[in-house]
């Protein structure tokens, strides 16, 4: 028997705390897991979406290509509109996402008269080169995302969003 004998009161405190903690954990664990499910859910990768843009008609000047796809948001399925800025670069087709990397506004090609060869975000005057690379000194901290591209029957198809492959 050691000198520090566990008193009856201590023993009760420990057992009650232990049993109580076990019960509380049993109650709370499912509820917490239920609540944090969105960060642990795995999303399926998106398929390529057909657009109405003829691949042969894409030039070196970016054009806006609107497209839509079916989105599943929990219990809600809907047709969502999206867009990409598309141009030809050599024998490659480049599709740039119009979502500004500063705070998520929508960028437009050549909408700033003083910079007719850049993407421009009207919210905070963020600018990007044609490649999607952000212009230093304007708010965006990174280049615009790109879409994977493919061709089907002469028409452009857009895939999932990927990081910009043009180097800074």
């Amino acid at each position: 028997m050691s000198k520090n004998r566990v008193t009856r009161r201590q023993f009760l405190t420990y057992t009650i705390t232990g049993v109580g903690g076990f019960m509380a954990a049993g109650m709370l664990m499912p509820m917490v897991r239920f609540a944090i499910d969105p960060i642990l859910q795995t999303k399926e990768e998106g398929d390529f979406v057909q657009t109405s843009q003829k691949a042969a008609e894409i030039t070196e000047v970016p054009v806006k290509v609107d497209f839509s796809y079916e989105q599943t948001d929990g219990w809600y399925k809907s047709e969502v509109a999206d867009a990409a800025w598309v141009y030809r670069e050599g024998d490659q087709i480049v599709a740039i996402s119009p979502v500004c990397k500063h705070l998520g506004c929508t960028v437009n090609w050549a909408s700033d008269p003083t910079h007719p060869d850049q993407f421009f975000c009207a919210c905070h005057a963020g600018r990007y080169e044609k490649s999607g690379v952000n212009v230093k000194g304007t708010p965006p901290l990174g280049p615009l995302d790109m879409f994977e591209v493919a061709e089907n029957d002469g028409f452009l198809m857009l895939g999932k969003k990927i990081a910009n492959t043009h180097s800074n």
């Binding site: 109650m27 499912p30 509820m31 897991r33 239920f34 609540a35 929990g74 219990w75 809600y76």
Partner: protein, 224 residues
């Protein structure tokens, strides 16, 4: 570590008397199951409260996914039950707990009745208890509609018809509950949701507080 934090706060705010008032109270021998096993009947009130706490917690978590709208209510319930991790458990806790809380409350009422604990000076606490009973039944009735399946719809139709059979005021009560004089639909669902998650719980908390304060004031009733 915890002791040090406690002492630090206690030194400044003198919190010991506050929680002593809440936590330290006499448990007479005749209500202690360790002395007389049959005294477990005195646990029913506490068990009712324990299940009520589970109902509040699981209900709070369910509203993270549930939508009180005729288009989406059933779909959101289906989604949270079948697609979200532990959704079946959390909804199950709320579903089964709802029935269990009524059972426990009924047993608690029987205990109070057969031990004569409602007698002077505890008449007021019996009345508050009856109020809590009514609120719990109201919570059960309004919650039943929320999944918006066929069982929920027809149970509510019957329930509202029962309310409509009240003399003179029946039609008014019916319209007030359903949000429309003829339809059990979109407006009924949002109303029941609001009553279920805001109005009745608020009333319940108030009455529970009064119930518990009176117990502490008057102590536990004597042995038979």
């Amino acid at each position: 570590m915890l002791n040090k934090i406690y002492d630090w706060v206690d030194e400044r705010l003198d919190i010991t008397p506050i929680w002593r008032d809440i936590a330290d109270h006499e448990v007479p021998e005749h209500v202690n199951p360790a002395h007389h096993f049959s005294a477990f009947v005195y646990c029913f009130g506490g068990l009712t409260f324990f299940i009520t706490v589970i109902q509040i917690l699981s209900g709070m978590f369910l509203t993270m996914y549930y939508v009180p709208d005729v288009e989406n209510a059933w779909k959101s319930v289906y989604y949270l039950q079948n697609e979200v991790a532990f959704g079946e458990i959390v909804r199950g806790m709320h579903h089964w707990g709802a029935s269990l809380v009524i059972v426990m409350m009924f047993l608690h009422t029987l205990r109070v009745f057969f031990t004569g604990s409602y007698k002077k000076p505890r008449e007021l606490n019996w009345l508050v208890g009856v109020g809590i009973f009514a609120i719990m039944l109201g919570l059960g009735f309004t919650g039943y509609l929320l999944p918006w399946d066929m069982k929920a719809l027809f149970a509510t139709k019957v329930g509202i018809e029962i309310a409509a059979s009240v003399p003179f005021l029946g039609e008014i009560i019916k319209t007030l509950l359903a949000g429309d004089s003829t339809i059990i639909g979109a407006q009924t669902l949002t109303r029941f949701f609001a009553i279920h998650v805001f109005f009745l719980p608020a009333a319940l908390f108030a009455l529970l507080a009064v119930h518990f304060i009176m117990i502490r004031r008057q102590g536990i009733s004597g042995p038979l």
